[in-house]
Symmetry: C2
Subunit: 345 residues, 2 copies
């Protein structure tokens, strides 16, 4: 066994969209776990839009990754050495392992998983942070009611596909948005959306709005916001009175700085704010890491549905840590099809 590991560091902060230059693959010694810590061999890492925010040196939910620091992210792997109670060599775990082949983590920050129950990659997607985000956002802030209409952006992503499937099971009319015909077919055929609109077929918010309006003929009761930009602009004027907008991401504005100062929109701020008043909307921003206390409830409810196939899963697996930056850049451009994962081992 080699005593070397690899990791991907933040080489420089991106100006606008990240490029390969912003990342650096580094080989280094495998560190030794301290007291209460565990050394994990990483099998899979998760790539998620929120990581774009971590690359900026601006105010966001959490501290940025420092220059030269390892890119953060969730991962699943197997314990090599444990100095923490409750973990032994061979255990499968997930936690914030970073973009790396090996990770040291405090035992308190790791969760043991059973690879016989469900594929371990599910803990990064449908049963991990993205699926949990969709479940919590829809049920807590979306307050879905049978007969209502929901619009879900990034319908084939791990958040959107959870939201769409859950909303369908609650009796809602589900309208997905996705980039390209392939994703649209997956949205309806695999995830059961009533209809999916290819946002790439629409150059501007007005054209997209027309298409959404045709599909959402009774207006929109819930818009699950995870993209911002053109889709938000298209949707806002179509919201029904008492509509709800859970906001868990605004990926299209992520390259514009932490608070969106530099981002551009074709609609004015008043035009995107006044509907909140005149339609009596509930807009709730959230990140799921503030709600881990509800994770056991989520797992209890959703793991059986994933195991028995009531909730479908779609993963996009890239091989090799060295390919993580390119996969991440692609993710920000919507090139992944399903939950983006990087296989390390």
């Amino acid at each position: 066994m080699t005593n070397k590991m690899q990791r991907i560091n933040l080489a420089s902060r991106p100006v606008g969209a990240p490029t390969a230059d912003n990342f650096k693959l580094e080989t280094t010694d495998i560190p030794v776990p301290g007291d209460g810590e565990v050394l994990v061999r990483v099998h899979y890492i998760s790539l998620d839009p929120y990581m774009r925010g971590r690359m900026d040196d601006s105010k966001s939910y959490t501290a940025p990754v420092p220059i030269g620091g390892t890119m953060e992210g969730g991962g699943v792997g197997q314990v090599i050495t444990s100095n923490a109670n409750g973990f032994v060599s061979g255990d499968f775990v997930f936690g914030m392992l970073g973009w790396a082949t090996h990770a040291i983590q405090s035992g308190k920050e790791l969760r043991k998983i059973d690879p016989n129950l469900t594929p371990i990659t599910n803990m990064l997607g449908v049963l991990g942070m993205p699926g949990f985000t969709g479940w919590h956002g829809l049920m807590e802030y979306g307050q879905p009611k049978a007969g209502e209409t929901i619009v879900v952006a990034a319908a084939t992503g791990p958040v959107g596909s959870m939201v769409g499937q859950l909303a369908k099971s609650c009796g809602l009319r589900t309208i997905g948005l996705a980039g390209g015909q392939k994703k649209c077919s997956l949205a309806t055929d695999l995830f059961g959306f009533d209809i999916c609109i290819d946002h790439r077929a629409h150059n501007d918010a007005r054209s997209l709005r027309k298409a959404i309006k045709e599909a959402a003929y009774d207006g929109i009761d819930i818009y699950f916001e995870n993209v911002g930009g053109k889709v938000l602009e298209a949707v806002m004027p179509l919201m029904n009175p008492f509509g709800r907008i859970p906001v868990c991401g605004m990926i299209s504005w992520y390259n514009a700085g932490g608070l969106g100062e530099g981002a551009e929109a074709t609609m004015s701020a008043p035009a995107l704010w006044r509907p909140i008043l005149v339609k009596f909307l509930k807009v709730n921003g959230f990140i799921i890491s503030n709600h881990w206390n509800k994770y056991p409830e989520f797992l209890t409810e959703m793991m059986p549905k994933v195991i028995n196939g009531d909730i479908q899963v779609l993963e996009d697996i890239t091989n090799g840590l060295e390919n993580a930056p390119q996969a991440f850049i692609g993710l920000l451009h919507g090139q992944n099809v399903g939950k983006q994962i990087v296989q390390i081992i």
Copy 2:
């Protein structure tokens, strides 16, 4: 007794800010109440910012006033003739009486009031729609907690002064905003705000933000939104994580069309939306007419506080129905000091 009445009709729809030309004083016969209806002699009418929205022929909470129709609004008065159960001549009532000296209303749409309990004008302000708006918005959506900081725009208005006084009684640090030194003094001396900032002393959102930041040294937990525009722009970057923004009005954008399409802002839509996500904000739009079921609870709780002086009242009374248009135009420019009322009789 004359059989003539006067009313103010909408003569034309305003382009931008309303002018005197948009209104027309009309003399007409006093109508006869039908079955279940009541004829009321109006004593006072209420002028409120929401009326600006009714003048536009665009989608808003409710239907617009038709051209030639009487301007809508709440009023208090005395029953002359009653064909409705529960009302007799001489009863004091309040309801949507319109900008007029006399009104016909269904008994179901009127509420009897006791002039011996509290001055009847209170039913238009502190104990009417504006006070109820402040109470419901703060307690339901603001979720105030002792030790937090709230920013309240239009601090001496009937909504803002209720919010500030209630928030203070809940143990919050209260920061008011008002136009001019006179209003600022009233905000602190009469309504007990910890500090009041004169927004007219700041030409742009950046300058105003600096002043608010100094006052709100621990950040802002609740922003009670009833003005939009420069204040919203100043406040958004200062919101604390898990902050709440009840939205009951955006007066500064009212001249821009029902959905704010034509309004201008100096900050972009992304800059005013991304904080919702990254600060996990709860933004709730509402109008109080959707919440009348809670009005008895409000009255039960707040009427004693108004009567015993725990809640202070400030009214700005203009005399004569014919002066209502000018008073309303002034209101939209912040020229009133306290709740704007027009005395008719």
